[in-house]
């Protein structure tokens, strides 16, 4: 079997997910044994001018240039994988959508803001069709490998559509709510093996909100632990502001 041509691209992001790939360690050798990396700005300078078997996209779409670029990449790619919160759910870049775009431009670029036209932050699937999602900020390395294997086999990968609590309980962590800390685990999609909570941090909701959260139940819990509603919304919007844009703008 010929090795598939794989390219990595980045849009508005911190490039941290690329670092996660470069930091796969020993497993990187297995990954490189299975694929032929033809473009990857973080680790190589070569470019590829033919079609891609797999394009792996980091970052969110935040201006018209990016819209054009991602559309062209999509046209050239058989399979497109969005990875990292910025690409899969908009991520922290989505916080811009809570402001007037002109105000945001002025705040960042001062009086010259008109030279830097911007649009609302979009997740990749809100602009072009996406075949696979690797959620997380940064991505959880074992999940990237699992998705890559699914893509190579041509089978679907199902992002767990249940709460982080499931994996957290299996890891036998003390619940953050019992420690008196508000955690986004109960409404956030699992798949990260409760990585943050295992290491003493809370869940920030970086993998996106469950497709069918129980809103009335969540409100009861928020009230039970006397958590201010605006704090919950801020926590929610830190990564998940782009969900307001819907599936395909």
């Amino acid at each position: 079997m010929k090795k598939p041509k794989v390219a990595f691209f980045d849009f508005a992001c911190c490039e941290g997910c690329q670092l996660q790939v470069a930091n796969l360690g020993e497993q990187l050798l297995d990954v490189l044994g299975a694929i032929d990396v033809v473009e990857f700005r973080e680790v190589m300078s070569e470019k590829w001018d033919k079609d891609y078997d797999v394009a792996i996209i980091e970052g969110s779409i935040t201006d018209e240039h990016a819209v054009e670029r991602i559309k062209k990449i999509r046209q050239r790619s058989k399979v497109l994988i969005a990875y990292g919160s910025c690409a899969t759910i908009g991520g922290v870049n989505g916080m811009k959508n809570g402001f007037d775009l002109e105000d945001a431009g002025k705040y960042v670029y001062g009086k010259d803001y008109k030279f830097f036209p911007t649009i609302k932050t979009h997740a990749v699937h809100q602009v072009v069709p996406v075949d696979y999602f690797v959620n997380g900020c940064p991505i959880y390395q074992p999940e990237l490998v699992a998705v890559l294997k699914a893509a190579l086999q041509g089978i679907p990968y199902y992002v767990p559509d249940y709460a982080v609590c499931v994996e957290c309980k299996l890891n036998e962590n003390v619940c953050m709510y019992q420690r008196g800390v508000a955690c986004m685990g109960p409404v956030t999609k699992a798949g990260c093996n409760s990585w943050c909570i295992n290491n003493g941090n809370i869940c920030y909701g970086c993998r996106g909100i469950l497709s069918n959260p129980n809103e009335s139940g969540a409100k009861d819990v928020i009230a039970k632990y006397s958590i201010p509603m605006d704090m919950v919304m801020n926590k929610m919007n830190m990564y998940n502001k782009c969900r307001e844009l819907g599936e395909n703008e």
């Binding site: 294997k149 559509d161 709460a163 962590n173």
Partner: protein, 355 residues
């Protein structure tokens, strides 16, 4: 070995007892995790063990059927090469409460059914169990009396009862007897030991009362008549479907079977991991149909799997009264409250009939 054998272990010998056991195998015991939480973890001395503890976050089932367990490894390189994987290790569980002993007994019944689950049974064979009696309720969530699991009913090799400065130890099996022989720290009990032991059991019968106003034998009938109860609809509003209640349950054993290929796409493994009927994808099948789409239906199913279906199949409740599901529920769905609400609704219906 005699049929019934009681011995005494002085408390200041506990540390050397555990140290002795941990020399040739892992000893797992409840340890404090802070914030009033406990977990079964490996210990090497008695100082690490929480002798007074409320049920651990996960029950000891995690040693019998780990959260993730490889069952088969395969290679497609030259035809189909399949190898069964049977992982197991020798270990001793120390300090298992009677509710968890009951939970292990339930799982033993399930996994011994044909076709037998050899992965489970092989692990079970390597695990020795030392029980520990609860002299009083652990907290308000427990309901062990109504399901008759606050007293020892077998399922252990040794059983410890704390009498202050010593433990009275019931030797129940050959394995238990060997532990006694090997460690050589146990003494014959005196009359005073027996008197104190009997007094404790007497006191316990006054402390432990039915936690829910119903006779245990009437519970299956209550469930028979409660399938369309309003109580389930209330749970629909509350439940977050986080699966905490089933993951921490000592008798929930549902698992999912998954395949995982290696990057060579030639070799791989089949493994199982804990699944939960509370999760939305659990009863979803090809074509997108979901047999238990509503949270109400899923919660109801959980209760029926504790108080109705297993009574018909195994003649026992699959609730051990440990209270873990109530403790772990962020949405405050409490087992005792649910049963009380069902009873109340039933009584109201009966009154309406009579009036």
């Amino acid at each position: 070995m005699k049929d019934v054998q009681y011995l005494v272990l002085r408390k200041d010998n506990l540390s050397s007892f555990i140290a002795h056991l941990s020399k040739d195998q892992k000893v797992m015991a409840p340890v404090s995790k802070g914030y009033g939480n406990y977990a079964f973890e490996e210990v090497t001395s008695a100082e690490q063990v929480a002798l007074k503890y409320i049920p651990t976050i996960l029950p000891p089932k995690k040693f019998f059927m780990p959260q993730r367990e490889t069952l088969i490894e395969y290679n497609l390189q030259s035809g189909l090469e399949v190898n069964a994987v049977l992982e197991h290790e020798k270990m001793t569980l120390f300090g298992v409460h009677t509710c968890d002993l009951a939970g292990i007994q339930c799982l033993n019944m399930v996994f011994s059914e044909r076709p037998k689950d050899y992965n489970y049974l092989l692990r079970k064979r390597g695990i020795s169990i030392i029980g520990l009696e609860c002299n009083e309720y652990c907290d308000e969530y427990a309901s062990c009396n109504i399901v008759n699991s606050n007293m020892p009913n077998g399922g252990y090799d040794l059983f410890f009862t704390d009498l202050g400065d010593c433990f009275v130890v019931h030797v129940n099996t050959q394995v238990g007897d060997e532990m006694v022989e090997r460690t050589k720290m146990f003494e014959k009990p005196s009359r005073t030991h027996f008197d104190a032991f009997m007094a404790l059991r007497e006191a316990k019968s006054k402390i432990f009362k039915n936690e829910i106003p119903i006779e245990p034998r009437d519970i299956p009938e209550l469930f028979d008549r409660s399938f369309d109860s309003e109580v389930w609809k209330e749970l629909e509003q509350k439940c977050l479907s986080c699966g905490n209640c089933t993951n921490v349950c000592p008798t929930c054993y549902c698992f999912d079977l998954l395949d995982e290929m290696n990057l060579d796409l030639n070799s791989g493994r089949k493994f199982r991991k804990w699944d939960s009927c509370q999760l939305e994808p659990f009863a979803k099948v090809a074509g997108g149909e979901n047999f238990r789409k509503s949270r109400a239906a899923r919660q109801r199913h959980r209760y029926y799997r504790k108080f109705e279906y297993p009574v018909a199949k195994y003649s026992r409740f699959f609730c051990t009264g440990c209270g873990r599901c109530s403790r772990a529920c962020m949405a405050d769905i409490k087992l005792k409250d649910t049963l009380n609400a069902l009873i109340k609704e039933r009584m109201n219906k009966l009154w309406i009939k009579w009036l």
